[in-house]
């Protein structure tokens, strides 16, 4: 009975935190509300005696939400904390797809022909997981490896603002007339930014080369 109560409490927390994601005005709160939701799910997995899966869910999800918060904040269309906002777009479509997916999954759970439990799970579940990964499900590993590699490369190709051969611009690329006419003082520095960019360019090379460690990258540019 206490287990059932705990389960219900965790489930309520998970759902409530999930709702909070869409109710808050702050991107930071939204990200971490999602993290709380996932932590609750991870703890529920622990209740199923899935120790490793449960703890690793907590680990991965907190980590990923910490990273996601960076992006949520960066890519928000406006101030990510101090303005009222609505996280829900195209409400009908999303509500429809959410309900549809929920029904589909529930139907799957209820209708699937689950294998009979053959007594209590014995031994170390983590070890059996490891064995499964290494032997019968080895294909998964072999597929995931190139997939991750491809993810890594394509994500960087898309996201990295500079390639190998371009040096770091020290100043933003600016076209002077785009500048706000009222930027007190700023337009001055804007004008001069161009000059600075040229002189700074040389400096950057110098800096990169004298930086003995890492950043091969300048060297690559010269080859």
């Amino acid at each position: 009975m206490p287990e059932a109560i705990l389960f219900v409490v965790l489930a309520v927390i998970a759902v409530a935190a999930g709702v909070a994601v869409f109710r808050t005005d702050s991107m930071a709160r939204a990200s971490y509300a999602l993290a709380v939701s996932f932590v609750a799910v991870g703890l529920m997995l622990l209740q199923f005696r899935l120790e490793y899966i449960g703890v690793i869910t907590v680990l991965m999800m907190v980590m990923e939400m910490a990273v996601m918060a960076i992006f949520m904040i960066m890519f928000m269309g406006m101030n990510p904390a101090l303005m009222p906002m609505d996280m829900v777009h195209s409400k009908k479509l999303s509500a429809g797809s959410a309900i549809g997916l929920f029904l589909l999954l529930t139907a799957g759970i209820l209708l699937a022909d689950w294998p009979e439990s053959r007594g209590p799970a014995g031994g170390d579940l983590t070890a059996s997981l490891g064995e499964a990964i290494m032997e019968p499900k080895m294909l998964v590993m072999l597929v995931i490896s190139p997939v991750l590699f491809a993810t890594l490369v394509s994500a960087l190709v898309l996201a990295n603002p500079r390639g190998r051969y371009s040096t770091y611009p020290l100043v933003p690329v600016e076209d002077a007339d785009d500048d706000d006419g009222q930027g007190k003082g700023q337009d001055h520095s804007g004008d001069s930014a161009g000059h600075a960019a040229h002189s700074a360019h040389g400096m950057d090379h110098g800096a990169g080369n004298s930086d003995g460690h890492g950043q091969h990258h300048d060297g690559g540019g010269h080859q």
Binding site: R29, A35, E51, V55, V62, A66, A81, T126
Partner: protein
């Protein structure tokens, strides 16, 4: 003590463990201040952490305009709580508060919580310098976390288990530090990093007026400072359990050995980090990924090969 027989403490265990953590952390802070005092030619210094605590308990709490009070509180209080939860799976001699089968992963998960807490503490203050500090910590975390994870894997491979008790038991005869020194060093570096000690102090350094602690006062600041030392102490404890044979040692009871080793290692870390200058925040990224990661991977490879050979022979 038979291998793997770690005895789980009853419900008063958590209290005892947290009290021990507090005492060990306090000793670390005292050693730090004694060293500081000696360096500047003063006597004493051991009283300084207590004076600091009194000062902060007396000081009024402080908040900034439009601060995200909830997130700030979570972040500020979380550091200490995370340290406490780490310690819960740490075998002190033959005793452990919680004999989790995946204790090692638990430690790692609690470490990741520190990411969240430091960042939340920085973000929640709605002030530039804490904000920059919080983001700096995430940058550090991206650099240290993977090497840390692999450093944790090495003892797990050698012991064939993720249970902290088994890992300690597997070191009977030969401490892991002897044949996995790289993992040990990387682990200690990561401990310094997640407890925000030099050289990884960029998130709360002087150039951003204290970073995440910049706007904190009173009990909030006290909790952050406590959290740092608690995390460092917990890290030292895990280093002992993972690499230095846990509570093994002659004559004395094993819990005493364990605490002794932990305290000595903690003091060494405190003394060591006073001598290291701080790294600029962006300086760690490339070396950690391009040097640290391959090196620790090689260490894991060596450990795996040795383990297999040991089994088959």
């Amino acid at each position: 003590m038979t291998p793997g027989a770690v005895q789980q403490l009853p419900a008063w265990g958590p209290l005892a463990a947290l009290a021990a953590l507090a005492v060990v952390a306090l000793s670390g802070a005292m050693v730090n201040d004694v060293l500081a005092a000696r360096f500047s030619g003063r006597r004493g210094g051991g009283f300084a952490p207590i004076a600091e605590a009194a000062r902060l308990l007396r000081q009024r709490r402080r908040s900034t305009v439009a601060a995200d009070e909830l997130l700030r509180r979570v972040g500020v209080a979380g550091l200490t709580v995370a340290a406490a939860l780490k310690v819960a799976v740490l075998p002190v001699g033959a005793w452990v508060v919680s004999d989790l089968a995946v204790g090692l992963v638990w430690f790692n998960a609690m470490d990741v919580l520190v990411w969240a807490f430091v960042w939340l503490a920085g973000w929640g203050q709605n002030s530039v310098f804490p904000l920059v500090g919080g983001y700096r910590f995430l940058a550090l975390a991206l650099a240290y976390e993977l090497p840390l994870m692999f450093a944790l894997t090495a003892p797990a491979v050698a012991a064939g288990s993720l249970r902290m008790g088994d890992i300690v038991a597997a070191q009977e005869g030969l401490w892991f530090v002897v044949w996995m020194p790289v993992a040990f060093v990387v682990f200690l570096a990561a401990v310094l990093a997640f407890s925000l000690q030099r050289p990884f102090t960029a998130p709360m350094s002087a150039d951003i007026t204290g970073g995440v602690t910049s706007e904190l006062s009173g009990v909030d600041r006290f909790l952050v400072l406590t959290g740092r030392y608690s995390l460092l102490s917990a890290g030292a404890g895990f280093a002992v359990a993972l690499f230095l044979g846990g509570g093994s040692g002659p004559l004395l009871p094993d819990w005493l050995w364990f605490l002794g080793k932990t305290v000595v290692l903690l003091w060494l870390l405190v003394a060591l980090r006073r001598r290291i200058p701080q790294l600029r925040p962006e300086q760690l990224m490339a070396p950690a990924w391009v040097v640290g990661l391959p090196v620790i991977l090689l260490q894991v490879l060596v450990v795996a090969v040795v383990t297999i050979n040991g089994r088959s022979s």
